[in-house]
Symmetry: C2
Subunit: 415 residues, 2 copies
């Protein structure tokens, strides 16, 4: 079963918006055994939209369309869909009522462009969009299913979760697809590949291994397709176990989760608490952690100590330490971690101080110099990293390195 995703909107093609919808949709489709053949972004242009629909229809049986349904003038998607399916536009009563109720609830005046949101091609099935004003439209033609959804991510996600995915599952007799992901850190893609070459070569044709690298991390993903779900799970688990055993110390999680979530899970399980003391990462580590619901059982809080004074007042770093060794030093970063441990009363604390760039380099400490420390009741350790010269990348790599360092400390404390 193949699907294609078509995103409509000039905002994608001028690069003002990153298409995060398609990746999410692809993930969800994969989970129910529908493979995405192609993702296509086209402009708000009738001819181009029609060409994309025609080509997608040749390659796939499910065509999911997002975008082009906003209330502003440049939106021509509905007219084009009507033309493609040889339908007229009609004003849908249920949608108009829904839009009207929404505006009344928000106590906002309604204008004609809002009412026009209720226009749909006469012949599609209208699925109400509870989170917005643009309706979702389901078309069936030539044994294909076409669904047009709004491009606003949370509106699309809700519609997919609640309506589209369940309907697709009911519409097709799908084969089983089983994925298993292993999160590794601290070893590059080619070295991982060399380490596990024999395991990879022994995989049967219906099981594939993908390498999904990200700064400092590589995800290994086994994917199997078949008709016997239990057997598939068994096979995939056996190969996963081989990979985990071989890569042992590089394995951070045996599921497809973020590295900070792996850390949260392990700490939660051990009933340990954590605080952060961030300088160059500027709150990014705390943000990564607090993205996850339920993090408060582990994470108590932290300091974003950007200025010298705040390193002293919030974390108790000694003035003399900062003066003698500088903010980016083993001594400072250790005092930051110990200060967080003490002031925020947690079992573990992690601290980061570095030169994210592009400015700020000093003799002997180029941009990309980052010190990271982890303190626990048992010890405090610090490590120097030399990353590159890109600010955002340095922030991200520092965060990954810090989280990896906590995970390694937790594992070591287990031994």
């Amino acid at each position: 079963m193949l699907a294609e995703i078509i995103t409509i909107g000039d905002e994608m093609l001028i690069g003002q918006i990153v298409d995060t919808n398609s990746a999410w949709m692809a993930q969800q489709l994969n989970l129910i055994g529908i493979k995405v053949k192609q993702i296509t972004s086209v402009s708000d242009d009738a001819g181009h939209i029609i060409e994309a629909l025609q080509l997608a229809e040749k390659r796939a049986q499910v065509i999911l369309i997002t975008g082009g349904l906003g209330p502003t003038k440049d939106d021509i998607t509905k007219l084009t869909l009507a033309r493609y399916f040889n339908m007229e536009l009609r004003r849908d009563e249920a949608t108009l009522n829904h839009v009207t109720a929404l505006f009344e609830r928000l106590k906002r005046p309604m204008i004609e462009s809002n009412r026009k949101q209720a226009d749909v091609p006469d012949g599609c099935e209208v699925i109400q969009n509870k989170n917005g004003t643009a309706p979702c439209m389901w078309f069936e033609q030539h044994d294909r299913i076409f669904v047009s959804m709004p491009g606003v991510p949370f509106e699309m996600m809700y519609l997919m979760d609640e309506e589209i995915l369940p309907r697709l599952k009911r519409s097709f007799n799908l084969p089983f697809i089983v994925h298993k992901t292993i999160l590794t850190a601290n070893l590059g893609e080619s070295f991982l590949a060399a380490e596990i070459e024999d395991i990879e070569d022994s995989l049967p044709a219906h099981i594939k291994l993908a390498y999904l690298p990200k700064l400092g991390q590589v995800r290994l993903r086994l994917s199997g397709t078949g008709t016997d779900e239990a057997l598939l799970h068994e096979e995939i688990s056996a190969f996963a176990a081989q990979l985990v055993q071989r890569l042992n110390k590089y394995v951070m999680a045996e599921e497809d989760i973020a590295i900070e979530k792996a850390m949260l899970n392990l700490m939660d399980q051990k009933k340990l608490t954590l605080s952060t003391a961030e300088s160059c990462t500027g709150g990014y580590i705390a943000h990564l952690i607090t993205k996850h619901p339920g993090c408060s059982s582990v994470f108590k809080g932290g300091a974003v100590a950007y200025a010298y004074e705040l390193k002293e007042s919030m974390l108790g770093v000694k003035h003399a330490t900062l003066n003698t060794y500088g903010a980016v030093s083993e001594e400072t970063v250790k005092e930051m971690a110990l200060g967080a441990l003490e002031h925020f009363k947690t079992d573990y604390a992690v601290s980061v101080s570095g030169i994210a760039g592009p400015d700020g380099a000093i003799p002997g400490k180029p941009v990309g110099t980052v010190w990271i420390a982890v303190a626990s009741r048992k010890r405090v350790i610090a490590k120097l990293h030399t990353f590159g010269n890109k600010r955002l990348q340095n922030i991200e790599r520092s965060a990954t390195a810090a989280l990896t360092m906590i995970l390694n400390e937790l594992k070591q404390d287990e031994d």
Copy 2:
């Protein structure tokens, strides 16, 4: 002049990776007057790649390809490109030397899959990739330019900036394209559209207006194409001035920058300092700010006070206040902002306390309830927001609302 972007890699189609490359590339191409007609993501499959190249070649003159050049086995891009252009693969001496030097510098052993990275279709121009091992390849055929680049974002970005964009500029005689973006907040897309309908209707055919909405913000982007650059700038500026005058209080910036950057610029200009006191946003506001180089002139740091105890110890929130009114209350959020102002010694402080969800709702305070306060030497104000039930969205909307609130306070202090 039209371009197309083709991204190769199953990781995109299974949704493990969000395609951020294409948006960035599209932005850069737009800036030099090359319009992106389509963005296509295809699988690591020779037939599919060839079909995508053939179709792209019909629609555009520049075809930029990213991905599919990693050292692991599933990478077939180079073989497919060789087939498409009817070339043989050869091992490129310069690339091999570069890869070898890189491995020596990193003191890492080299394996055959690393050496194979130096294989290129015989007939393309090889452009050295200083940041990685996969070479960049430039092909010319049928009056079209094809460029294959690695998919690792910073490798691709460096190659685009330093090599590809300058070469494209030299290869074509491009028309001028001028963009002007106005960042607005606090007014929805359809209301903005209604407010400025007459201005939009008066735009000449060569100037277009796009609405680029994001949670709580809408960017208005004027784009003009023509041969007289000075005249274009003048026309666009005149229309932009009309829009700014009409939308006055909703305008946060008259350039295409992030809202936190607009705030940083204004505060830097006024020589004001800022600190943060975050609960439910968990460091996200600090992260947004510290993404920007040079932010330290304004931003001193802040507290991520997730736990009650840290709200007291870091920010001096009174135990009685927390006990009486709860963490998510006007009283607490005001004390948090005032505490940050005092403890971190800044001119302004912003605080956020809310229920990001999905759990944590209490009677009278559903998920999405968020209090935000801004304190300055003059006053402290607080505002209640009722967002939705999605955690990440609540965090992002809270941050946008907090930044908008600071900007409005700054503007008010100007009056």
